[in-house]
Amino acid sequence: MSATPTLWSITRRSLAKDLRLEWRSKDAINSMLFFALLVVVIFSFGFDPTAEESRRIAGGLLWVAVLFATVVALNQTWTRELRNQVLDAYRLSPAPPQALFLSKTIGNFLFVAILEVLMVPLFVVFYNLRSVGPVWQLLVVALLATWALVVNGTFFAALSIRTRSREIMLPLILFPISIPALLAMVDATTSILTGDNSPYFWMRLLAVYDVVFTAVSLLLFEPVLNAE
Protein backbone atom coordinates (compact mmCIF):
# COMPACT_ATOMS: atom_id res chain seq x y z
CA MET A 1 0.00 0.00 0.00
CA SER A 2 1.35 3.41 -0.93
CA ALA A 3 1.91 6.05 1.74
CA THR A 4 -1.10 8.18 0.86
CA PRO A 5 -4.10 6.10 -0.10
CA THR A 6 -5.99 7.51 -3.06
CA LEU A 7 -9.72 7.40 -3.71
CA TRP A 8 -9.15 4.57 -6.10
CA SER A 9 -6.96 2.46 -3.81
CA ILE A 10 -9.51 2.73 -0.98
CA THR A 11 -12.31 1.87 -3.38
CA ARG A 12 -10.37 -1.17 -4.56
CA ARG A 13 -9.68 -2.39 -1.06
CA SER A 14 -13.25 -1.94 0.06
CA LEU A 15 -14.48 -3.68 -3.08
CA ALA A 16 -12.06 -6.57 -2.55
CA LYS A 17 -13.36 -6.96 1.00
CA ASP A 18 -16.98 -7.03 -0.21
CA LEU A 19 -16.20 -9.53 -2.94
CA ARG A 20 -14.33 -11.79 -0.54
CA LEU A 21 -17.20 -11.68 1.93
CA GLU A 22 -19.64 -12.47 -0.84
CA TRP A 23 -17.42 -15.24 -2.20
CA ARG A 24 -17.38 -16.92 1.22
CA SER A 25 -20.99 -16.41 2.22
CA LYS A 26 -22.72 -16.13 -1.19
CA ASP A 27 -25.62 -14.45 0.58
CA ALA A 28 -26.56 -11.91 -2.04
CA ILE A 29 -25.92 -13.89 -5.17
CA ASN A 30 -27.75 -17.03 -4.05
CA SER A 31 -30.90 -15.31 -2.87
CA MET A 32 -30.87 -13.09 -5.94
CA LEU A 33 -30.44 -15.99 -8.34
CA PHE A 34 -33.14 -18.11 -6.80
CA PHE A 35 -35.48 -15.16 -6.65
CA ALA A 36 -34.89 -14.33 -10.33
CA LEU A 37 -35.40 -17.96 -11.29
CA LEU A 38 -38.74 -17.97 -9.48
CA VAL A 39 -39.80 -14.79 -11.25
CA VAL A 40 -38.90 -16.25 -14.65
CA VAL A 41 -40.84 -19.45 -13.98
CA ILE A 42 -43.87 -17.60 -12.63
CA PHE A 43 -43.86 -15.24 -15.61
CA SER A 44 -43.82 -18.14 -18.02
CA PHE A 45 -46.94 -19.51 -16.28
CA GLY A 46 -48.54 -16.10 -16.60
CA PHE A 47 -47.79 -15.74 -20.31
CA ASP A 48 -47.61 -18.52 -22.83
CA PRO A 49 -46.08 -16.76 -25.80
CA THR A 50 -45.11 -17.87 -29.27
CA ALA A 51 -41.58 -17.08 -30.47
CA GLU A 52 -42.83 -13.98 -32.28
CA GLU A 53 -44.70 -12.64 -29.25
CA SER A 54 -41.93 -13.48 -26.83
CA ARG A 55 -39.57 -11.16 -28.71
CA ARG A 56 -41.92 -8.30 -27.95
CA ILE A 57 -42.44 -9.06 -24.27
CA ALA A 58 -39.10 -10.60 -23.28
CA GLY A 59 -37.39 -7.22 -22.82
CA GLY A 60 -39.99 -6.18 -20.28
CA LEU A 61 -40.01 -9.53 -18.47
CA LEU A 62 -36.23 -9.76 -18.30
CA TRP A 63 -35.73 -6.29 -16.88
CA VAL A 64 -38.58 -6.52 -14.42
CA ALA A 65 -37.11 -9.81 -13.16
CA VAL A 66 -33.65 -8.20 -12.90
CA LEU A 67 -35.12 -5.18 -11.12
CA PHE A 68 -36.82 -7.32 -8.48
CA ALA A 69 -33.74 -9.48 -8.00
CA THR A 70 -31.56 -6.36 -7.76
CA VAL A 71 -33.68 -5.09 -4.89
CA VAL A 72 -33.04 -8.37 -3.05
CA ALA A 73 -29.28 -7.85 -3.40
CA LEU A 74 -29.35 -4.12 -2.68
CA ASN A 75 -31.16 -4.61 0.60
CA GLN A 76 -28.19 -6.62 1.84
CA THR A 77 -25.59 -4.07 0.73
CA TRP A 78 -25.55 -1.93 3.83
CA THR A 79 -27.12 -4.19 6.45
CA ARG A 80 -23.82 -6.06 6.57
CA GLU A 81 -22.13 -2.83 7.63
CA LEU A 82 -24.62 -2.15 10.41
CA ARG A 83 -23.49 -5.17 12.37
CA ASN A 84 -20.68 -4.30 14.79
CA GLN A 85 -21.08 -0.62 13.89
CA VAL A 86 -18.89 -0.93 10.81
CA LEU A 87 -20.68 2.00 9.22
CA ASP A 88 -19.86 4.19 12.22
CA ALA A 89 -16.22 3.20 11.86
CA TYR A 90 -16.35 4.34 8.22
CA ARG A 91 -17.73 7.66 9.32
CA LEU A 92 -14.92 8.20 11.77
CA SER A 93 -12.20 7.20 9.33
CA PRO A 94 -10.66 9.87 7.11
CA ALA A 95 -11.39 7.76 4.00
CA PRO A 96 -13.50 9.65 1.44
CA PRO A 97 -17.13 8.50 1.58
CA GLN A 98 -17.20 8.43 -2.22
CA ALA A 99 -14.77 5.51 -2.13
CA LEU A 100 -17.19 3.56 0.02
CA PHE A 101 -20.08 4.38 -2.27
CA LEU A 102 -18.14 3.50 -5.42
CA SER A 103 -16.98 0.17 -4.02
CA LYS A 104 -20.52 -0.79 -3.01
CA THR A 105 -21.87 0.26 -6.39
CA ILE A 106 -19.22 -1.62 -8.33
CA GLY A 107 -19.79 -4.65 -6.13
CA ASN A 108 -23.52 -4.58 -6.80
CA PHE A 109 -22.83 -4.04 -10.48
CA LEU A 110 -20.77 -7.21 -10.57
CA PHE A 111 -23.41 -9.23 -8.69
CA VAL A 112 -26.20 -8.10 -10.98
CA ALA A 113 -24.02 -8.66 -14.05
CA ILE A 114 -23.35 -12.24 -12.95
CA LEU A 115 -27.06 -12.68 -12.38
CA GLU A 116 -27.80 -11.46 -15.91
CA VAL A 117 -25.19 -13.76 -17.44
CA LEU A 118 -26.87 -16.69 -15.71
CA MET A 119 -30.43 -15.57 -16.39
CA VAL A 120 -30.24 -14.72 -20.07
CA PRO A 121 -29.70 -18.36 -21.14
CA LEU A 122 -32.74 -19.27 -19.05
CA PHE A 123 -34.81 -16.71 -20.88
CA VAL A 124 -33.54 -17.93 -24.22
CA VAL A 125 -34.55 -21.49 -23.32
CA PHE A 126 -37.89 -20.77 -21.65
CA TYR A 127 -39.12 -18.23 -24.19
CA ASN A 128 -37.52 -19.57 -27.40
CA LEU A 129 -35.75 -16.28 -27.88
CA ARG A 130 -33.71 -15.28 -30.90
CA SER A 131 -32.63 -11.71 -31.46
CA VAL A 132 -33.26 -10.10 -34.84
CA GLY A 133 -30.93 -7.18 -34.10
CA PRO A 134 -27.19 -7.43 -33.37
CA VAL A 135 -26.25 -9.00 -30.03
CA TRP A 136 -23.45 -6.52 -29.24
CA GLN A 137 -26.11 -3.83 -28.88
CA LEU A 138 -27.84 -5.93 -26.25
CA LEU A 139 -24.56 -6.11 -24.40
CA VAL A 140 -24.17 -2.32 -24.39
CA VAL A 141 -27.76 -1.88 -23.23
CA ALA A 142 -27.21 -4.42 -20.45
CA LEU A 143 -24.10 -2.62 -19.18
CA LEU A 144 -25.76 0.80 -19.21
CA ALA A 145 -29.00 -0.51 -17.71
CA THR A 146 -27.29 -2.44 -14.93
CA TRP A 147 -25.29 0.60 -13.90
CA ALA A 148 -28.48 2.70 -13.95
CA LEU A 149 -30.20 0.26 -11.60
CA VAL A 150 -27.35 -0.23 -9.14
CA VAL A 151 -26.08 3.34 -8.87
CA ASN A 152 -29.44 4.67 -7.70
CA GLY A 153 -30.20 1.43 -5.91
CA THR A 154 -27.03 1.55 -3.82
CA PHE A 155 -27.69 5.16 -2.92
CA PHE A 156 -31.30 4.57 -1.98
CA ALA A 157 -30.38 1.46 -0.01
CA ALA A 158 -28.19 3.75 2.09
CA LEU A 159 -31.26 5.96 2.62
CA SER A 160 -33.62 3.12 3.41
CA ILE A 161 -31.45 1.42 6.06
CA ARG A 162 -32.12 4.52 8.16
CA THR A 163 -35.87 4.01 8.13
CA ARG A 164 -38.33 1.79 9.89
CA SER A 165 -39.31 -1.26 7.79
CA ARG A 166 -36.24 -0.79 5.65
CA GLU A 167 -36.76 -3.79 3.38
CA ILE A 168 -40.00 -2.46 1.99
CA MET A 169 -38.74 1.12 1.84
CA LEU A 170 -36.13 0.55 -0.86
CA PRO A 171 -38.47 -0.34 -3.75
CA LEU A 172 -40.87 2.42 -2.71
CA ILE A 173 -38.24 5.10 -3.28
CA LEU A 174 -36.21 3.37 -6.00
CA PHE A 175 -38.96 2.44 -8.47
CA PRO A 176 -40.49 5.90 -9.08
CA ILE A 177 -37.09 7.49 -9.78
CA SER A 178 -36.05 4.54 -11.98
CA ILE A 179 -39.08 4.70 -14.25
CA PRO A 180 -37.34 6.53 -17.10
CA ALA A 181 -34.37 4.13 -16.92
CA LEU A 182 -36.69 1.12 -16.93
CA LEU A 183 -38.62 2.50 -19.86
CA ALA A 184 -35.35 3.02 -21.72
CA MET A 185 -33.87 -0.43 -20.98
CA VAL A 186 -37.10 -2.25 -21.82
CA ASP A 187 -37.68 -0.36 -25.05
CA ALA A 188 -34.06 -0.59 -26.13
CA THR A 189 -34.06 -4.35 -25.55
CA THR A 190 -37.36 -4.80 -27.35
CA SER A 191 -36.17 -2.69 -30.29
CA ILE A 192 -33.07 -4.84 -30.66
CA LEU A 193 -34.88 -8.17 -30.21
CA THR A 194 -37.58 -7.38 -32.75
CA GLY A 195 -35.35 -5.28 -35.01
CA ASP A 196 -38.29 -2.91 -35.59
CA ASN A 197 -36.88 0.34 -34.29
CA SER A 198 -33.53 1.91 -33.66
CA PRO A 199 -32.47 1.55 -30.00
CA TYR A 200 -30.06 4.50 -30.16
CA PHE A 201 -32.32 7.08 -28.58
CA TRP A 202 -32.86 4.81 -25.58
CA MET A 203 -29.18 3.94 -25.31
CA ARG A 204 -28.28 7.61 -25.27
CA LEU A 205 -30.95 8.27 -22.66
CA LEU A 206 -29.58 5.47 -20.47
CA ALA A 207 -26.08 6.91 -20.82
CA VAL A 208 -27.33 10.36 -19.79
CA TYR A 209 -29.20 8.84 -16.86
CA ASP A 210 -26.07 6.98 -15.74
CA VAL A 211 -23.85 10.04 -15.90
CA VAL A 212 -26.33 12.35 -14.19
CA PHE A 213 -27.19 10.04 -11.33
CA THR A 214 -23.63 8.88 -10.75
CA ALA A 215 -22.68 12.52 -10.33
CA VAL A 216 -25.62 13.31 -8.03
CA SER A 217 -24.99 10.19 -5.93
CA LEU A 218 -21.29 10.97 -5.45
CA LEU A 219 -22.19 14.53 -4.54
CA LEU A 220 -24.90 13.66 -2.03
CA PHE A 221 -23.48 10.51 -0.48
CA GLU A 222 -21.40 12.28 2.13
CA PRO A 223 -24.27 14.15 3.83
CA VAL A 224 -26.38 10.98 3.74
CA LEU A 225 -23.63 8.84 5.29
CA ASN A 226 -23.06 11.38 8.03
CA ALA A 227 -26.72 12.11 8.73
CA GLU A 228 -27.43 11.77 12.43
Partner: protein, 227 residues
Amino acid sequence: MTKLYKAFSAVTALLLLYGFCQAWYIAPTEATMGNVQRIFYYHLPSAWVAFLLFFVNFLASAWYLIRRTDGADALALAAAEVGVSFCTIVLITGPIWARPIWGIWWTWDARLTSTLVLWLIYVSYLVLRHYATGGQVPVLAAALGIFGFVDVPIVYMAIRWFRTQHPQPVIGGGQGSGLDHTMWVAVLWNLAAFAMLAVLFVWARYRQALAERALEEAYIQAEGEAQ
Protein backbone atom coordinates in the same frame (compact mmCIF):
# COMPACT_ATOMS: atom_id res chain seq x y z
CA MET B 1 -52.78 32.88 13.74
CA THR B 2 -51.32 36.22 12.84
CA LYS B 3 -53.36 39.11 11.46
CA LEU B 4 -51.39 38.92 8.24
CA TYR B 5 -52.37 35.29 7.79
CA LYS B 6 -56.04 36.08 8.36
CA ALA B 7 -55.95 38.94 5.90
CA PHE B 8 -54.21 36.72 3.36
CA SER B 9 -56.85 34.03 3.83
CA ALA B 10 -59.65 36.54 3.28
CA VAL B 11 -58.08 37.83 0.07
CA THR B 12 -57.56 34.26 -1.16
CA ALA B 13 -61.21 33.38 -0.46
CA LEU B 14 -62.38 36.43 -2.41
CA LEU B 15 -60.04 35.60 -5.29
CA LEU B 16 -61.25 32.00 -5.40
CA LEU B 17 -64.85 33.23 -5.51
CA TYR B 18 -64.07 35.72 -8.24
CA GLY B 19 -62.16 33.09 -10.19
CA PHE B 20 -65.14 30.78 -9.85
CA CYS B 21 -67.48 33.43 -11.29
CA GLN B 22 -65.03 34.04 -14.13
CA ALA B 23 -64.76 30.35 -14.95
CA TRP B 24 -68.42 29.48 -14.69
CA TYR B 25 -70.35 32.59 -15.79
CA ILE B 26 -68.15 35.04 -17.63
CA ALA B 27 -65.86 32.88 -19.78
CA PRO B 28 -67.68 31.80 -22.96
CA THR B 29 -68.75 28.21 -23.51
CA GLU B 30 -66.19 26.43 -25.64
CA ALA B 31 -67.46 25.83 -29.20
CA THR B 32 -66.94 22.06 -29.55
CA MET B 33 -66.42 20.79 -26.01
CA GLY B 34 -69.16 22.72 -24.26
CA ASN B 35 -69.23 23.25 -20.54
CA VAL B 36 -66.88 20.35 -19.84
CA GLN B 37 -64.04 22.57 -20.99
CA ARG B 38 -64.53 24.74 -17.89
CA ILE B 39 -62.66 22.19 -15.80
CA PHE B 40 -59.62 23.52 -17.64
CA TYR B 41 -59.73 26.64 -15.43
CA TYR B 42 -58.91 24.39 -12.48
CA HIS B 43 -56.79 21.78 -14.24
CA LEU B 44 -54.18 24.14 -15.64
CA PRO B 45 -53.68 26.39 -12.58
CA SER B 46 -53.37 23.28 -10.37
CA ALA B 47 -50.75 21.84 -12.69
CA TRP B 48 -48.69 25.01 -12.78
CA VAL B 49 -48.91 25.46 -9.04
CA ALA B 50 -47.91 21.82 -8.43
CA PHE B 51 -44.87 22.08 -10.72
CA LEU B 52 -43.88 25.34 -9.07
CA LEU B 53 -44.13 23.76 -5.62
CA PHE B 54 -41.95 20.82 -6.67
CA PHE B 55 -39.39 23.36 -7.78
CA VAL B 56 -39.67 25.09 -4.40
CA ASN B 57 -39.10 21.68 -2.78
CA PHE B 58 -35.91 21.28 -4.81
CA LEU B 59 -34.61 24.72 -3.86
CA ALA B 60 -35.44 24.21 -0.20
CA SER B 61 -33.80 20.76 -0.22
CA ALA B 62 -30.61 22.14 -1.75
CA TRP B 63 -30.68 25.05 0.69
CA TYR B 64 -31.05 22.63 3.58
CA LEU B 65 -28.02 20.60 2.50
CA ILE B 66 -25.94 23.78 2.26
CA ARG B 67 -27.10 25.64 5.36
CA ARG B 68 -28.87 23.02 7.53
CA THR B 69 -31.61 25.34 8.73
CA ASP B 70 -34.87 24.00 10.16
CA GLY B 71 -36.76 26.52 8.08
CA ALA B 72 -35.49 25.12 4.79
CA ASP B 73 -36.51 21.61 5.78
CA ALA B 74 -39.95 22.73 6.92
CA LEU B 75 -40.42 24.56 3.63
CA ALA B 76 -39.35 21.50 1.63
CA LEU B 77 -41.86 19.36 3.50
CA ALA B 78 -44.67 21.88 3.13
CA ALA B 79 -44.01 22.40 -0.58
CA ALA B 80 -43.94 18.66 -1.26
CA GLU B 81 -47.18 17.98 0.61
CA VAL B 82 -49.11 20.82 -0.98
CA GLY B 83 -47.54 20.05 -4.37
CA VAL B 84 -48.70 16.45 -4.19
CA SER B 85 -52.20 17.65 -3.28
CA PHE B 86 -52.38 19.95 -6.30
CA CYS B 87 -50.88 17.28 -8.53
CA THR B 88 -53.64 14.95 -7.31
CA ILE B 89 -56.21 17.54 -8.38
CA VAL B 90 -54.57 17.58 -11.82
CA LEU B 91 -54.74 13.79 -12.07
CA ILE B 92 -58.41 13.77 -11.02
CA THR B 93 -59.69 16.68 -13.10
CA GLY B 94 -57.88 15.37 -16.19
CA PRO B 95 -59.82 12.08 -16.51
CA ILE B 96 -63.13 13.84 -15.71
CA TRP B 97 -62.51 15.97 -18.79
CA ALA B 98 -61.05 13.16 -20.87
CA ARG B 99 -63.98 10.78 -20.47
CA PRO B 100 -66.54 12.87 -22.45
CA ILE B 101 -63.98 14.40 -24.83
CA TRP B 102 -61.65 11.50 -25.69
CA GLY B 103 -64.10 8.77 -24.66
CA ILE B 104 -61.55 7.26 -22.25
CA TRP B 105 -60.56 8.06 -18.70
CA TRP B 106 -56.87 7.55 -19.14
CA THR B 107 -54.29 7.03 -21.83
CA TRP B 108 -50.54 6.47 -21.58
CA ASP B 109 -49.82 9.67 -23.38
CA ALA B 110 -46.68 11.74 -22.75
CA ARG B 111 -48.04 14.46 -20.55
CA LEU B 112 -50.37 12.27 -18.54
CA THR B 113 -47.68 9.70 -17.93
CA SER B 114 -45.04 12.22 -16.93
CA THR B 115 -47.44 13.91 -14.52
CA LEU B 116 -48.25 10.54 -12.99
CA VAL B 117 -44.56 9.69 -12.65
CA LEU B 118 -43.93 13.07 -11.06
CA TRP B 119 -46.74 12.40 -8.62
CA LEU B 120 -45.25 8.98 -7.80
CA ILE B 121 -41.81 10.49 -7.17
CA TYR B 122 -43.12 13.04 -4.71
CA VAL B 123 -45.41 10.55 -3.00
CA SER B 124 -42.33 8.38 -2.46
CA TYR B 125 -40.64 11.47 -0.98
CA LEU B 126 -43.49 11.80 1.52
CA VAL B 127 -43.37 8.06 2.27
CA LEU B 128 -39.65 8.34 3.06
CA ARG B 129 -40.31 11.27 5.37
CA HIS B 130 -43.00 9.28 7.10
CA TYR B 131 -40.87 6.19 7.67
CA ALA B 132 -37.49 7.72 8.41
CA THR B 133 -36.85 8.37 12.08
CA GLY B 134 -34.98 10.84 14.18
CA GLY B 135 -32.84 13.81 13.29
CA GLN B 136 -31.61 12.29 10.03
CA VAL B 137 -34.98 12.71 8.26
CA PRO B 138 -34.22 16.16 6.81
CA VAL B 139 -30.93 15.04 5.22
CA LEU B 140 -32.37 11.87 3.71
CA ALA B 141 -35.43 13.74 2.48
CA ALA B 142 -33.34 16.55 1.01
CA ALA B 143 -31.22 14.02 -0.90
CA LEU B 144 -34.31 12.33 -2.30
CA GLY B 145 -35.83 15.72 -3.15
CA ILE B 146 -32.79 16.53 -5.28
CA PHE B 147 -32.86 13.10 -6.94
CA GLY B 148 -36.53 13.55 -7.73
CA PHE B 149 -36.06 16.93 -9.28
CA VAL B 150 -33.06 15.87 -11.35
CA ASP B 151 -35.17 12.99 -12.63
CA VAL B 152 -37.92 15.25 -13.99
CA PRO B 153 -36.27 16.27 -17.29
CA ILE B 154 -35.18 12.67 -17.91
CA VAL B 155 -38.72 11.43 -17.28
CA TYR B 156 -40.01 14.07 -19.64
CA MET B 157 -37.55 13.12 -22.42
CA ALA B 158 -38.17 9.40 -22.02
CA ILE B 159 -41.92 9.68 -22.07
CA ARG B 160 -42.10 12.22 -24.87
CA TRP B 161 -40.61 9.61 -27.16
CA PHE B 162 -44.09 8.09 -27.22
CA ARG B 163 -46.68 9.86 -29.31
CA THR B 164 -48.76 12.54 -27.72
CA GLN B 165 -52.50 12.51 -27.31
CA HIS B 166 -52.84 15.37 -24.83
CA PRO B 167 -54.04 18.56 -26.54
CA GLN B 168 -51.00 20.52 -27.69
CA PRO B 169 -50.11 23.19 -25.18
CA VAL B 170 -52.97 25.65 -25.45
CA ILE B 171 -50.76 28.48 -24.33
CA GLY B 172 -47.65 29.07 -26.39
CA GLY B 173 -48.22 25.85 -28.34
CA GLY B 174 -47.52 27.26 -31.77
CA GLN B 175 -49.93 28.08 -34.58
CA GLY B 176 -53.63 27.54 -34.10
CA SER B 177 -53.28 27.43 -30.34
CA GLY B 178 -54.43 30.20 -28.11
CA LEU B 179 -57.31 31.22 -25.95
CA ASP B 180 -60.13 33.66 -26.36
CA HIS B 181 -59.46 36.85 -24.45
CA THR B 182 -62.17 36.16 -21.83
CA MET B 183 -60.86 32.62 -21.34
CA TRP B 184 -57.43 34.04 -20.68
CA VAL B 185 -58.89 36.32 -18.03
CA ALA B 186 -60.55 33.34 -16.32
CA VAL B 187 -57.32 31.31 -16.45
CA LEU B 188 -55.26 34.09 -14.98
CA TRP B 189 -57.69 34.84 -12.17
CA ASN B 190 -57.86 31.22 -11.22
CA LEU B 191 -54.11 30.88 -11.48
CA ALA B 192 -53.73 33.81 -9.09
CA ALA B 193 -56.32 32.34 -6.73
CA PHE B 194 -54.73 28.89 -6.75
CA ALA B 195 -51.25 30.32 -6.28
CA MET B 196 -52.50 32.28 -3.26
CA LEU B 197 -54.22 29.19 -1.93
CA ALA B 198 -51.00 27.21 -2.32
CA VAL B 199 -49.00 29.90 -0.51
CA LEU B 200 -51.59 29.86 2.25
CA PHE B 201 -51.35 26.08 2.68
CA VAL B 202 -47.56 26.03 2.50
CA TRP B 203 -47.39 28.85 4.98
CA ALA B 204 -49.68 27.07 7.45
CA ARG B 205 -47.85 23.77 7.05
CA TYR B 206 -44.48 25.47 7.35
CA ARG B 207 -45.42 27.10 10.64
CA GLN B 208 -46.91 23.88 11.88
CA ALA B 209 -43.75 21.91 11.05
CA LEU B 210 -41.60 24.45 12.87
CA ALA B 211 -43.95 24.45 15.87
CA GLU B 212 -43.82 20.65 15.94
CA ARG B 213 -40.05 20.79 16.09
CA ALA B 214 -40.04 23.41 18.83
CA LEU B 215 -42.48 21.31 20.82
CA GLU B 216 -40.29 18.24 20.46
CA GLU B 217 -37.23 20.13 21.64
CA ALA B 218 -39.11 21.61 24.60
CA TYR B 219 -40.29 18.13 25.51
CA ILE B 220 -36.77 16.68 25.41
CA GLN B 221 -35.50 19.58 27.49
CA ALA B 222 -38.28 19.19 30.06
CA GLU B 223 -37.56 15.49 30.28
CA GLY B 224 -33.87 16.20 30.84
CA GLU B 225 -34.68 18.64 33.63
CA ALA B 226 -37.05 16.22 35.30
CA GLN B 227 -34.33 13.62 35.67
